[in-house]
């Protein structure tokens, strides 16, 4: 027998012409996902990408795995069906802020609540790209768009806080162009059994260009990104001198600087990814008052839905007879006519 050829990230490229706009953050995410694939330890034929509708949802066409580009907002439901039919498959959902949180918001709640073993990548660019630039449920108040020429007036939702509220057991955030960070987060998400929710800050160069520049800009990144790692202090800044402290009087997080006002490293919170209260606070802090937390905000595994369904089935089959249609039809009261 020949040893199987080693699969490389190149094996996950398709022959399809990639049709995102030049400079779109999706290119970088695609590359990061392709580079993650060979390290999953999953046979290529067992990988499935499911998407809804929108720019991000073109993703499956560019992954040489099984893929299903479905309908607007419904990728979590399609993926649940895939998983119910074959729990062995490694299923990834690709969605966006409009697809996953607006038209498909209900399915997102329930796929997270049920804890279906999927990796859900939500590309958040705070805009509707494919339909030419309308504001989205994550757009900041005042976003000017064709449908809100005088600026949007409704409050946005935070994807990570949404996921936490829905009962997600794995919540992470990363950034399109941070290849190393993103691949690490993808691996963590894959390792987590259950629904893994990853918000990816993604730039739309055409309709919402630069929306995350304050986080991504090399000059300010160190001050504007809070890399959270389980068991490590919540420190950030060029000199790694700034940190996050819990103010017990207000039960809220605050930015402090080590060496100022008597602050020492002992005052800085240690990240505990199993702490839901901390995860909630991290999900809710944003620039400009805070650095944007990136990494695994929350990871607290629980029983998965599909596993539960199959466990029940196994239990029934241990006591019931074999599946016999004739016996089924003759179960209950029957009578013979001669």
């Amino acid at each position: 027998m020949n040893a199987p050829e080693k699969v490389t990230w190149k094996d996950f490229e398709t022959d399809q012409e990639v049709r995102w706009c030049p400079g779109c953050g999706d290119y970088a995410i695609l590359k990061a996902v392709q580079r993650t694939m060979p390290d999953l330890g999953v046979p290529k034929e067992n990988i499935v990408f499911v998407s809804g509708i929108g720019c991000s949802s073109r993703f499956p066409y560019y992954m040489d795995t099984y893929g299903f580009h479905s309908i607007h907002g419904r990728a979590p439901s399609i993926a649940t069906g895939v998983k119910l039919a074959n729990p062995e498959l490694d299923v990834w959902v690709v969605t966006g802020d409009g697809d996953g949180l607006s038209i498909g918001g209900n399915h997102m709640i329930h796929v997270l609540r049920r804890n279906v073993d999927l990796q859900i990548l939500l590309f958040n660019n705070e805009i509707y790209g494919l339909t030419k630039g309308q504001y989205s449920p994550t757009s900041k108040v005042g976003t000017k768009s064709p449908s809100t020429p005088d600026g949007s007036v409704d409050l946005p939702l935070g994807p990570c806080a949404f996921a936490l509220g829905a009962g997600a057991r794995f919540i992470a955030r990363s950034i399109d162009t941070e290849m190393k960070h993103l691949t690490e987060v993808l691996m963590r998400a894959h390792d987590h059994k259950g629904a893994s929710f990853i918000e990816i800050y993604q730039n739309c160069p055409v309709y919402n260009d630069g929306i995350f520049d304050h986080v991504k800009d090399k000059k300010t990144a160190a001050d504007m990104q809070l890399h959270v790692r389980h068991g490590e202090p919540l420190l950030f800044g060029k000199e790694v001198q700034k940190g996050i402290r819990l103010n017990p009087k207000t039960i809220s997080l605050e930015v402090v600087t080590i060496g100022e006002d008597g602050i020492t490293e002992a005052d800085i919170m240690i990240h505990d990814e199993t702490n839901k209260v901390l995860a909630q606070m991290l999900a809710d802090i944003h620039a400009p008052d805070f650095p944007e937390p990136v990494g695994v905000l929350y990871c607290q595994p629980a029983d998965g839905y599909v596993e539960g369904v199959y466990d029940q089935r196994i239990a029934v089959r241990e006591t019931s007879g074999p599946a016999d249609v004739n016996a089924l039809l003759r179960g209950g009261h029957t009578w013979a006519v001669s």
């Binding site: 066409y61 299903f68 069906g81 895939v82 119910l84 074959n86 209900n106 329930h110 004739n326």
Partner: protein, 623 residues
């Protein structure tokens, strides 16, 4: 025929050929349970029968309210029985509301059994009676057994030490005992049912058994009004074999499981609760030893999408609902059309539009089934005609969906779903398997490959090495499945999808006549659960010498290839439907037929008489 008209005297018994009994009471009075036990006893006795449970949308309406009346009708006889009967011979009225809402369906001289204990001033007022009809003479045209059943039951159940509340709940069994006496039914199956149902509460079982026996004994010993005696309904002449009662829901669920085995395909059943379709989800959820996974989704759309996802992964995705839910599933069904995946959608139709009459029956979703999606998304539609027929319809749907890789819509309705009928249980070994072949070969593989005969697209399920591919809602290149916006290609793909569905007509049976022969004066064309009423109406009309035939269509789309020619051979075509005329329009436009509509949209099934009268009127026009 009715209990009013005795056929013969036999051993001092009144022999009648068929009887309609309706049990009516508050929704909490247990009328459905009473009816189903009487049905079982009647089936065991050897009569042919059909039933019609008719219950309110409110789970627990205020006691005594007219809108809370729950009824169960059974028609049984010595000849073949295919409807629940037109007119009621025996009405059991557990309170004034049950009497006032059902009396008009009672034949002149029919028998009323009323619980006088429930005819209190409060209940009379609530039902809208100013005087007590049991005593004011207004029921003089009927025969009346007015008994204080409540008092009888309290007395009969005294030894078991039940609270007043629980003791009174045995009223339905007391009444059942009396009706069983009236028609010589055997109480023992019901007694066994009670023992197993209340196995953990023997005192409740004993009290109910005492009640049924007391009701029976009352019939035997009490002096009942003149003419109220035991009736004998001779056994029906039915084919020998093993029988059971089956509802449309049960038959449909079992047919799906059977079809899955014949195809060699696991089933993923995804649904969202809706009346009257939910019971299908319940029934399948109890069958985990079969290769079926059930999923209660968060909404109708999710249910349909999960079914599509499951089919992509190599299962047969099935989703079910009633009209309003089917509307929501439309986009997902179109996705299954576009991606050419197998799928089954079951529509248990109810009265509409919108919430309409959720517990009543209608056939008004034919247009929805045929046309209710965006774009050109033709799909096969199959309608079951009786409760038992749902079994074969489900198997047929599995066959077509898996062989042609297309969504298939099954049309059932609230009447069929809940009504039970005796079923000569088939031998599953007699069914021909239709195994599915998943693609495994990588040679020249593209997801666009299709069978040259059936035009079915290749089914390559995830997990198969070397067949990794992408599908989706965007138009696909005919040759390789890549996304394509090419104009000629879209025309070709649209034509191909249509040709595939149209071509299924070559793989379904030719249309046969249910009664009569081609080339006559009049053909009555039906579909779905109007079968029983049309069957009886045509039979009676033919017995009366009329030239009328019956065609009942199962394959609503594509239609059998000979249907146009067959219908065209008749001078006149009459199409009874429980809608405002949907199939009649299809027949008119498709075959250029001058078909006449007979429509009823009251939430109630056709009466045999209504169709008989229409046949007579139609033939009079012709002659």
């Amino acid at each position: 025929m009715s209990v009013v008209e005795k056929v013969t005297q036999d051993d001092d018994l009144n022999v009648v050929s068929d009887v309609v009994v309706r049990f009516a009471g508050d929704s909490g009075d247990g009328m459905q349970l009473t009816g189903s036990n009487f049905t079982e006893a009647t089936a065991l006795y050897g009569n042919d029968l059909a039933t019609f449970p008719d219950f309110p949308a409110e789970i627990r309406a205020p006691a005594g309210a007219t809108f809370g009346v729950s009824a169960f009708q059974i028609y049984f006889g010595s000849d073949d029985v295919t409807t629940a009967g037109d007119d009621v011979d025996v009405l059991v009225a557990m309170n004034p509301a049950a009497l006032i809402t059902n009396r008009t369906d009672l034949v002149e001289g029919g028998l009323i059994i009323a619980d006088s204990g429930a005819f209190t001033d409060k209940n009379l007022n609530r039902a809208g009676y100013s005087e007590n009809p049991l005593t004011d003479g207004s029921l003089d045209g009927y025969r009346l057994i007015s008994i204080d059943i409540t008092a009888q039951v309290l007395e009969a159940t005294k030894p078991y030490g039940l609270s007043h509340k629980f003791a009174v709940r045995c009223k339905n069994m007391w009444t059942l005992g009396l009706v069983m006496w009236l028609f010589e039914r055997d109480r023992s199956p019901t007694i066994e049912n009670l023992k197993s149902k209340f196995a953990s509460k023997p005192e409740i079982a004993d009290a109910n058994i005492a009640a049924i026996n007391a009701g029976h004994a009352y019939g035997e010993t009490a002096e009942l009004p003149t003419g109220v005696e035991v009736y004998r309904v001779p056994r029906a002449d039915v084919s020998p074999g093993l029988y059971r009662n089956v509802t449309g829901t049960e038959a449909l669920a079992w047919g799906l499981l059977a079809g899955g085995q014949l195809a060699g395909v696991p089933i993923t059943f995804a649904s969202y609760p809706i009346t009257p379709a939910s019971s299908l989800l319940h029934t399948l959820s109890e069958q985990k030893q079969f290769d079926v996974v059930t999923f209660q989704a968060e909404d109708e759309i999710a249910a349909a999408c999960a079914a599509v996802g499951a089919s992509f992964a190599g299962s047969l995705g099935v989703t079910s609902s009633s009209g309003p839910g089917i509307s929501l599933k439309g986009e997902a069904i179109s996705l299954a059309c576009a991606t050419e995946l197998p799928m089954i959608i079951i529509n248990t139709q109810r009265g509409g539009p919108s919430t309409g009459l959720p517990t009543k029956t209608e056939q008004s979703d034919l247009n929805l089934a045929l046309f209710g999606r965006h774009a050109d998304t033709s799909l096969p539609v199959i309608a079951s005609q009786t409760s038992a027929d749902c079994f074969d319809v489900a198997i047929e749907a599995v066959r077509i969906a898996t062989q042609f890789r297309t969504p298939v819509m099954i049309l059932s309705d609230g009447y069929m779903a809940n009504a039970s009928e005796p079923w000569l249980v088939p031998d599953f070994n007699d069914y021909e398997p239709f195994p599915v072949s998943y693609e495994t070969s990588t040679e020249k593989f593209t997801p666009a490959n299709r069978d040259p005969e059936t035009l079915a697209r290749v089914w390559a399920k995830p997990g198969t090495p070397g067949l990794e591919h992408r599908i989706g809602g965007i138009e696909k290149n005919f040759d390789n499945g890549d996304i394509s916006y090419d104009a000629d290609n879209h025309q070709k793909m649209t034509d191909t999808r249509k040709a595939k569905v149209d071509g299924i007509a070559r793989y379904i049976p030719e249309q046969e006549l249910s009664a009569g022969q081609a080339g006559g004066k009049l053909v009555v064309v039906g579909w779905g659960s109007t079968y029983g009423a049309i069957h009886q109406a045509v039979k009676r009309s033919r017995q009366a010498g009329m030239d009328v035939s019956h065609v009942h269509v199962r394959h609503m789309w594509p239609m059998p290839s000979n249907l146009g020619e067959l219908l065209g051979s008749f001078d006149q075509v009459l199409v009874p439907e429980m809608n405002t005329g949907q199939f009649v329009q299809v027949l008119r436009s498709h075959f250029m037929l001058d078909a006449h509509a007979l429509n009823k949209v009251s939430g109630q099934p056709f009466k045999i008489r209504e169709i008989e009268e229409a046949i007579a009127a139609q033939l009079e026009v012709v002659s």
